[in-house]
Amino acid sequence: MTQSVVVQVGQCGNQVGCRFWDLALREHAHVNKRGLYDEALSSFFRNVDPRKSGGGACYVGGRIQHLKARAVLIDMEEGVVHGILQGPLREVFDSAQLLTDVSGSGNNWAVGNLTYGSAYRDSIVNKLRKAAEHCDCLQCFFLIHSMGGGTGSGLGTRVLSLLEEEFPDVCRIVTAMYPSAEDDVITSPYNSVLAMRELTEHADCVLPVENQSLVDIVNKISLMSHNAKPGCVLKKESTVTSGQGGVSPTERPFDAMNNIVANLLLNITSSSRFEGSLNMDLNEIAMNLVPFPRLHYLVPSLTPLYTLADVNIPTRRLDQMFSDAFSKEHQLIRADPKHSLYLACALMVRGNVQVSDLRRNIERLRPSLPFVSWNQEGWKTGLCSVPPVGHTHSLLALANNTCVKPTFMELRERFTKLYKKKAHLHHYLHIDGMEQSAFSESLSSLSALIEEYHHLDATKARLIPDAPRLSIAR
């Protein structure tokens, strides 16, 4: 069994991360009735017995003493992290896992990446190394941060390149929160584009998430709960709709949105933690979904987002779950994958679903989904037998699809609007180590990426013949 370490950077990163740990604890509590520290738990938590000497690490198989999250929390302001430490999750984190400063990054990527990046380099590397040493077999780093701010975006991407330097063999999966067009941080386009270049070069996979999509989804759910048919009860314990039943008693704004992202992480790792008839490990995700090194942006979609009280779910409902995964309302960025080109698609199913259901739905949906010519049957499937809390089954779809192109193009447009006028540039340029070339290079990196997607899109309409086969002399 492998372990993963979560590195949460910045305000957004830490808030999402916090919800993740809450839900993870709840999920394991639901499954692990005997209070044993099992393999599944050890993938995200250490078991520490403070009475034992030498750090008190406990091995798999014993009773749960104190669970400590395999996490590193970084923020250049104290507010969020201190809030976590005063909340009900305080026991789960060790002070050695935290790195905070006081003044924040002022929404400035350069401050986060260069100023704090250099000042705290050694400290960060030490904390990462410590977390890694606690792992038997470290498989993956999950990095969570936003793109629009200063700490998450700047220091987060610095951490990413440190991870590549220090742990080149460990997979790096980044969950990046992209700002919406109506974002109130004026410099968010700069921060995002500067960060994008780092993500393109140093991450193995990026799961882009857009705030606006999360807002839409949350609204849809509350609309469902108000319009619910008589006799149907919205399940309160579902981990998606609310954090109720988790460790934190009250819900704060953004909690519902952060829940969705936290669920994404739970579902991605479910097959590595629990058993199933067709396992899908984290290294398989990168292997199957990334055909070319730079095209590693995977659009996530989660279904079902709500469940009603029917216990006996007939097959039709199951099929609906598959259909929904491809509809544009369920994507976590504002994109429509069905009208763009699929390079690859992964379906991670949890719960009581069999291979025949999977096959039937793939065959049913396949004709309406445009796949690139050399990957006509490009499906990666996984079946995990343990469903998430409050659902009988769930589906996570990860699509490597050219529908990210419009998102990136919009980002580039917002960037160019500011950059043309050199607006706010001086805030960045007077930071030690920051050159104007960083801006132009990041812009070209983004443009090159958009070009690559554009090339693939162009093949969509064309009928590509089979490549001529090798001929054998007889």
């Binding site: 069994m1 492998t2 393999e39 038997d136 077999c137 498989q139 058993e275 008839s277 067709l278 396992n279 490990d281 290294n283 398989e284 990168a286 292997m287 199957n288 979904l289 990334v290 055909p291 070319f292 090194p293 690859a344 069999q354 291979v355 025949s356 259901d357 096959r359 793939i362 065959e363 396949r366 010519s373 050399w374 990957n375 006509q376 049957e377 490009g378 499906w379 990666k380 499937t381 079946l383 089979d466 490549a467 086969r469 090798l470 001929s471 054998i472 007889r474």
Partner: protein
Amino acid sequence: MSVVTVQLGQCGNQVGQELFDVICSDARDVHRKTYSTVSCERFFRETTQGDLEARAVLIDMEPKVINHSMSKAAKSGRWRYGETSHFSQKQGSGNNWANGYCVHGPRHRDAVEELMRREVEHCDMLAGFIPIMSVAGGTGSGVGTFVTQCLRDIYPSSFVLNHLTWPYGTGEVIVQNYNSVLTLAHLYQLSDAILVHENDIVHKICSQLLKIKQISFSDINRVIAHQLGGVLQPTLTPASCGAYSRHPVGELMSALACHPEYKLLSVCTIPQMASSSIPFSTFSWPALLKHLRQMLISNSKMEGGIDWQVCPPPASAGRSRSLSAGSFNTSLANLLILRGKDVYSAETGGFEDSAIYTSWLPPDEALSLWKSPVPFNKYEKSATLVSNSQALLRPLDDMVRKAWNMFASRAYIHQYVKFGISEEDFLDSFTSLEQVISSYSELQ
């Protein structure tokens, strides 16, 4: 004579566990003592407490499936796996053949060889090895290929029969075609014969013949196990002189693996039906064999939707074969295994028709017939046909075509290069398989 099974990767371990289950029930439930003894000796060893332990080595790069298979076996109460017969690591091969073959294989070579050695030492006489694996993933395919190579190196005079499960055509793993091409190309040099099951076909058997509504991988694996059991359980062969054959793998090789360029074997079994229907059905050898023969020549691997229009072309017509023309399946060699009541009176002349074979071997040498009077797995009469024919030509060609299209755009190649496989290696594998396709296409 004992067979050592090597279960590799998730598929291999799941199929292997079902196989031993079928064999154990068959051996134990039958009231024929000799049959039971031979079967148990072949696949199990008896511990000092009288328990049956499978002669198997379980290998996987992550522990969950092996743990599951071992506990499932132990729960059956009738047999189990040896406590120390398994090897696993913490982290899988990531669906990457190169990771399995170039990294995991060599890294754990010593440990795996030690396990093999121990299992072989428990055998009085070794009949051969049967590695069981899938070709779509990373461990079964990559580590499986490496382990087959090790077996060849250490036991050069033993038989190696690889059992492969081919994935659904519509994809379980995106890089499955790359993994399959690399595996098949390498195994062709290493293996004595390659016995193939296709998930698509087995799925159809489950839905159309066994009438299972929600098909799970357990159902699929059980059908594969049933068919494999039908091949491997004791039989009387022409060479065994009135007793159960002691060289099942060797005799299978001499029956079917007659030429180094033709190693692909397909299996079909008749009848296959829902177990609830069996008591209400009557079987006659003429009907069963007639259906089976038509299944063979029309290349339908199951007893439903058989195309009765297909018949062997007249001997006088020039038989130029191309992949698209003609649906007639030419055989190189066939092995027909009959089990159950009245086997000795079964009339198998239909399989000795020279029209269904190539012209190189006379039909009486191309057909081998094994019999067992013991009914197998609840069927009063059953027949299994193992065929070295063009049956796998189309699926193989599809697989190579898709892999080649993907290779043409160099998609995913960086993932393999990372672990030590170069574009040259890919090209070599493609070349080998085009050779195999060409050889089978031109059978006449």
